[in-house]
Amino acid sequence: MATATAPPQRARRPPAPPPRRPPRLRAWLGRFWHQYTRMRTAIYFLIGILCIVLIGTFVPQEFTSASQKVSEFAAAHQNLDDLATHLGLPLTSVFVSPLFYILLASLYIALLSCVLTRGRALIVRTLRGYPRTPQYWGEWGSWMFHTSFFLLVVAVVWGKATGFDGIMTITEGQRVAETQASYDTLQEGMLFDGHHSGYEVQLNRFSAPLQSNGMPSDFVSNMTVYDGGRPVLTQDVRVNEYLGYHGVDFYQQDYGWAPHMVVRNPAGEVVSDTAIQMISDDKTASTGVLKVPAFNYTLPGQSKPTQIGAKLVLYPDAQALPQVSGASNGLNFSYAPGTAAARNPVLEVQLFVGDLGLDSGASQDVFTLDTGGMTPYYSGAAAFALPLHQTTTLGLPAASGGTANFTVSFPDLRQFSLFHVKQDNGVPLVYAAFVLTMTGLLTKLYLRPFLERRRRMRKAILHPVGVAASPPGEPPPRGVGEEVLTR
């Protein structure tokens, strides 16, 4: 569209080719284009963008705010949001809304025309050897500044399209390959070639030393990269120190507890031996789920082996709350969260027996337990407490009418790290665009006035009288107020 209509000024040639369009339309398009590429229009576009962005700061946004806030807003302003969505501006995702992109595109099209015409004019002027006035340098500055926005867009789009962005969780001692399957969530760009680097990373240790106020003073993951099975790099990863290897970068984003649990079935076989990643808001109490699909024990009278699962709560620094009843089998203690330090780790285990529902494919989520096909082990789904380094023995009905004992133990408490992992080859180009923006801006705003002042001073030395009238840096009086009154 942009190239189809030449700017009207350049129609200097004699009227040789017959107009392909009706002249009226052509004139109208010409006028439209002229208006469209004026600076005034750019101001309106910028104001439009400003308004959208302003909405984006005050309305919770899907990608940056807590999802609860977003749904609260959506619920409270249903009609307004519907209306806005019809107009191409869904209020809770304005930064990816059609209207925002349309405005940006309009601005960029106008900007492109401006950059092209002015760039061409500058090159022509340079080639013809016209004098290098301060104005000339100022225009180069302005040109660089405006062009840098194109470089920026290219850098952003290209970087996102050819790269990927994901979340990976790794437990202490675990080694994970940088492949698609290892990610909790992964977003690959449209032009990403599908090849992940395949090297492995291991989380050797995680630490989050606490200050006296209970906040971590730092959180650090000690990581080793294994390429082709050989360790090639070991370093600490913390918030301001990422791990970069082969174009893929690991950023420390969050962490959590991962209690190591071992389950033995009545036959004494180890049927589950994993570190379970727990989620939490603050690290003083976290929740998680234990699933043992291959428990390998069949209850009397049933055809299929049973499975067990448990909802878990972990208090790294459990504070015991003694209860009224006197029995002391551990059931009558429930715990309250203490600090986030692993001073007295206790797991509260709410055990279920039955069918985990994994076959139906409905509940594959590692953080939820579908208890639809299960019965609580204790009546009222009471939990039992399992302190660190301890083993609890529990009974199930046996064929003989007796009891078959199985055990659940909590041999150690580990931590896991959550990494933001990404590949974005556009970043250096983004920085290059930044450099171009600054260079252009400084050239325009400083080099030009500097050259002008120098020129004025030279003139003042050569012709001391003529120039003194207008003070440096100021336009001549505009004929308002005082000046008018006095003349």
């Binding site: 600076m39 005034r40 750019a42 101001i43 910028l46 104001i47 963008i49 400003l50 962005v53 302003l54 984006g56 700061t57 005050f58 946004q61 990608f63 940056t64 705010s65 807590a66 930064f95 200050q211 906040m215 971590p216 003073s217 730092d218 959180f219 913390r238 918030v239 301001n240 990422y242 970068d249 950023y251 984003q253 933001h420 992992v421 990404k422 970043v427 983004v430 920085y431 930044f434 923006t437 600054m438 801006l441 400084l442 705003l445 400083y446 840096g473 100021e474 336009p475 009086p477 505009r478 308002v480 107020g481 005082e482 000046e483 008018v484 009154l485 006095t486």
Partner: protein, 310 residues
């Protein structure tokens, strides 16, 4: 913790001098004696080393670059404002700009005091050179850009005063116009009369509108590149710390808004119909946006940056 840290004592001394200076500038509005303005200016110059010392001792007490929370940040911006004011009043003889400059300086320090945080450690995310460069640029740019709004407000006031005088003079009621020395001065006549007339008359003690306008522009010229640089350094820090250079976090978004407002200003300066009054109004919007960025976003809208409170 029970003792007042030295930095806070110095802070109090600086505020006291600033308040005295502001009173001086207020007195100077009706009683236009050079000596009053110079005394007020002297009080600002007296406050300045205490202010600086307060920032430096705070840095030592806290053990980090003193822009790590909103107390330190507000103190820092007010320092930039006071410094800029001293420079322009010494170099360019601008005195009346001391009124808005001191109001804002004192206002910021009052807010800083209300949100006072004892010196202490920073959260891990704040240990970064990029962040230091980023916050320093942002504080500096904020302190500079507010002056463009001050001058723009003076410009609008002066334009209104001129317009009022012109209208009444045009009505032929005889405002006396005297021309003398290098410049021109207008003596308030019976012309406008009433409170409006005397207000218009006193506004005409301000420098000419064109001068105010070019001062306003000059501060955008200085502040805008610094703001641009600061936003970019924020992006570089975001990339280093979180692996994303931009995420439309509320704080980022607001810094973008301020940036666009001043970009609009620069365009307005070269657009007919926009270059004077509207351009001046844009810088005033810019002022509002800068402080919305600083306080509204930090205190009411949560985001990755909101640990700046702690």
């Amino acid at each position: 913790m029970n003792d007042t840290p030295l930095s806070l004592t110095l802070f109090g001394v600086a505020v006291a001098f600033y308040v005295a200076a502001l009173i001086g500038f207020f007195v100077y509005i009706p009683i236009r004696r050079r000596r009053i303005a110079d005394t007020a200016l002297g009080l600002v110059a007296l406050a300045w080393p205490f202010h600086l010392a307060s920032i430096l001792t705070r840095a030592i007490e806290a053990g980090h670059w003193p822009l790590g929370n909103i107390y330190e940040y507000s103190t820092g911006i007010s320092f930039v404002i006071a410094t800029t004011f001293l420079v322009i009043s010494l170099r360019a003889g601008q005195r009346l700009i001391g009124v808005p400059a001191m109001i804002l300086t004192i206002g910021l320090m009052a807010v800083a005091y209300m949100l006072y945080v004892p010196p202490g450690n920073l959260v891990p995310a704040l240990h970064s050179y990029w962040l230091t460069i980023h916050v320093t640029s942002m504080a500096t740019a904020s302190g500079l850009l507010v002056f463009s709004s001050f001058f723009a407000m003076f410009f609008l006031a002066r334009r209104w005063g001129d317009g009022y005088a012109l209208a009444t003079a045009g009505a032929g009621s005889g405002g006396a116009v005297v021309s003398g020395g290098g410049g021109a001065a207008v003596i308030r006549g019976g012309g406008g009369g009433g409170p409006m007339g005397s207000l218009a008359g006193s506004l005409r003690h301000l420098p000419p509108a064109t001068t105010l306008d070019s001062w306003s522009f000059r501060f955008v010229m200085i502040g805008f590149p610094v703001w641009t640089f600061g936003v970019m350094m924020g992006a570089v820090w975001g990339e280093h710390a979180w692996g994303r250079y931009w995420g439309w976090d509320p704080k980022e978004t607001f810094s973008f808004i301020v940036w666009v407002v001043f970009a609009i200003y620069l365009h307005a300066r070269v657009t007919y119909g926009w270059r004077e009054t509207r351009a001046a109004l844009i810088t005033v919007i810019g002022l509002v946006a800068i402080f919305a960025d600083l306080y509204a976003v930090n205190l009411w809208i949560a985001g990755l940056h909101s640990y700046a409170r702690a």
